[in-house]
């Protein structure tokens, strides 16, 4: 009875297949082919998003593994460097581990009045905390190397934060099964990983005390003040004064060769005040973010305060320039984020030499004899003396 029914079903199916698909080969093969097609169509219709989500999760998990490797390697390098340079009598690892969660809260900007002063106060407090911590974990470190440990700690904190943030987003996406979360995470991953790799490069630079791309402004200033006397005019900023073809040139930069950026805004304001505002020009040199496709080390000229600080130093320069009507020239050396915080590339080094000539030309063209000009080399002066 059953065999009879199966036989009739096969005959019916064969008839359908023959009439619709013009085929008359092995019935089993075609039944399976049709079944395969139906299952495949159903699978693609019902599970396409799940497959997509699975692929996004897989990408994010791969990136998270890499981030974990970078963050833990950065921590290991920091501990090793602190032990080598600071020679502490205790194990600094648990202290460093705790410090990796260090954060700072930006001031409220709903009421913008005095926000710059409040921000500066918080930034100063943060800097002092990191400095005190570096001294604590590396009590016997050379004072010249201590700022490098601070920089190393900051780069490690960034990597650790990136790792924890990405892990949070991935786990949240998995828990909530939210396509939106996972899609955004996967789409931002390439840029996040670029940042992470760049900060890992910064760890290498800070642990060795090597100059970084961001220090190109400081390098130009160092080249200008080379062989001339200099003194510390404000905390962690040095100035050198010399005569250039009848013009008085005051060059400032952060005090090297430790990883310092100093307070160039405060230094410029002080020099202007000391000269009662009799400053013909302020020339600022700094590294600037290049657009994709632009050549590394390309030099661009413009006007305005060329400084990439969070705000307070730029504010001081603009304020004093407006008060005395001093024009500000800006020279930017183009580089990418990776090149800015990793060891200086040859193209950037070569650009520094060209910028020195350009600065001297600007002084000759735009500053009259007997006038005073301030040249400020902005940036992290790690690995650059004066």
């Amino acid at each position: 009875m059953f065999c009879n029914r199966v036989g009739r079903l096969r005959g019916g199916l064969k008839l359908i297949l023959v009439s619709f698909f013009m085929i008359n080969d092995s019935l089993d093969k075609y039944i399976l082919d049709v079944l395969f097609f139906v299952v495949f169509a159903l699978f693609i219709t019902l599970f396409n998003q799940r497959i997509q989500v699975w692929m996004w999760i897989r990408d994010a998990e791969g990136a998270l593994r890499r981030l974990h490797f970078l963050a833990s390697s950065a921590k290991d390098i920091t501990i090793k460097t602190v032990k080598e340079v600071g020679n502490p009598s205790f194990d600094p690892a648990p202290l460093i581990d705790d410090f990796l969660d260090f954060f700072f809260i930006e001031p409220v900007s709903l009421d913008p009045a005095g926000v710059i002063q409040r921000l500066e106060h918080i930034l100063n407090t943060r800097d002092k905390r990191i400095e005190a911590f570096a001294k604590k974990i590396a009590p016997n470190a050379d004072p010249m190397f201590l700022p490098n440990i601070e920089g190393l700690l900051e780069a490690t904190i960034v990597l650790n934060t990136l790792y924890r943030e990405i892990r949070h987003l991935l786990l949240l996406g998995k828990k909530t099964k939210s396509v939106v979360f996972l899609m955004q995470l996967q789409m931002f991953l390439p840029i996040i990983m670029r940042y992470a790799e760049a900060f890992f490069g910064a760890v290498d630079a800070f642990s060795g005390g090597k100059p970084i791309g961001d220090g190109v402004g400081a390098l130009v200033a160092a080249k200008l003040m080379r062989g001339k006397p200099h003194k510390e005019i404000v905390e962690k900023v040095v100035a050198s004064e010399f005569d250039f073809e009848g013009r008085r040139v005051v060059v400032i930069k952060a005090k090297g060769p430790g990883a310092e950026v100093g307070k160039p805004g405060e230094a410029i304001a002080r020099i202007v005040a000391q000269n009662s505002g009799a400053i013909a020009r302020i020339i600022m040199i700094d590294a600037a973010a290049k657009l994709e496709g632009e050549k590394t080390g390309r030099i661009a000229e413009g006007v305005g305060a060329a400084i990439g600080d969070p705000g307070p130093e730029k504010y001081k320069i603009e304020e004093i320039a407006v008060k005395y009507g001093i024009p500000i020239d800006a020279i930017a050396i183009k580089l990418s984020l990776e090149e800015a915080i990793t060891v200086m590339r040859k193209e950037i080094l070569e650009a520094a030499e060209k910028v020195v000539q350009r600065v001297l030309n600007i002084i000759k063209e735009r500053v009259r004899e007997g006038e005073t000009v301030i040249v400020a080399g902005i940036g992290n002066t790690i690995g650059i003396g004066q």
Binding site: K29, I348, G383, Q386
Partner: protein
């Protein structure tokens, strides 16, 4: 994941080979072979990706190089060496073997270890 795809490819190829002898099942054999080939390609791709990640993890991409130059402008002594901790630009590092003037570090930069195709 690469291993899973390799196993799937092996199973599908085996099924394809065992079904080759029966004429009626020739169609299935091709299906199995095609699916096996897809799995094999996926397996190779994943394995290659993993290998690339490992290489990237282990190989340094840059070497930090120091250029040391004689401070005497008439002497042209110049040498390049690997960076050592404590080096910095404008640091005096001994005396010139040619004229005995102080040697100064004039540049520290990252040299790419990647081969460039032109």
């Amino acid at each position: 994941m690469s291993i899973v795809f390799s196993l799937a490819a092996f199973v599908l190829f085996t099924l394809g080979l065992t079904n080759l002898d029966t004429e009626a099942e020739a169609g299935f054999s091709i299906d199995y072979f095609l699916s096996g080939a897809v799995c094999l390609v996926l397996s190779f791709l994943l394995a290659f990706q993993h290998k690339k990640q490992l290489q990237y993890r282990l190989k340094p991409r840059f070497l930090s190089v120091v250029t040391v130059k004689c401070s005497n402008e008439n002497c042209n002594f110049k040498e390049e060496r690997e960076f050592k901790r404590g080096d910095y630009i404008f640091k005096e590092v001994g005396s010139c073997p040619k004229c005995n003037s102080p040697l100064v570090i004039v540049a520290i930069y990252a040299k790419s270890l990647k081969k460039r195709f032109t």
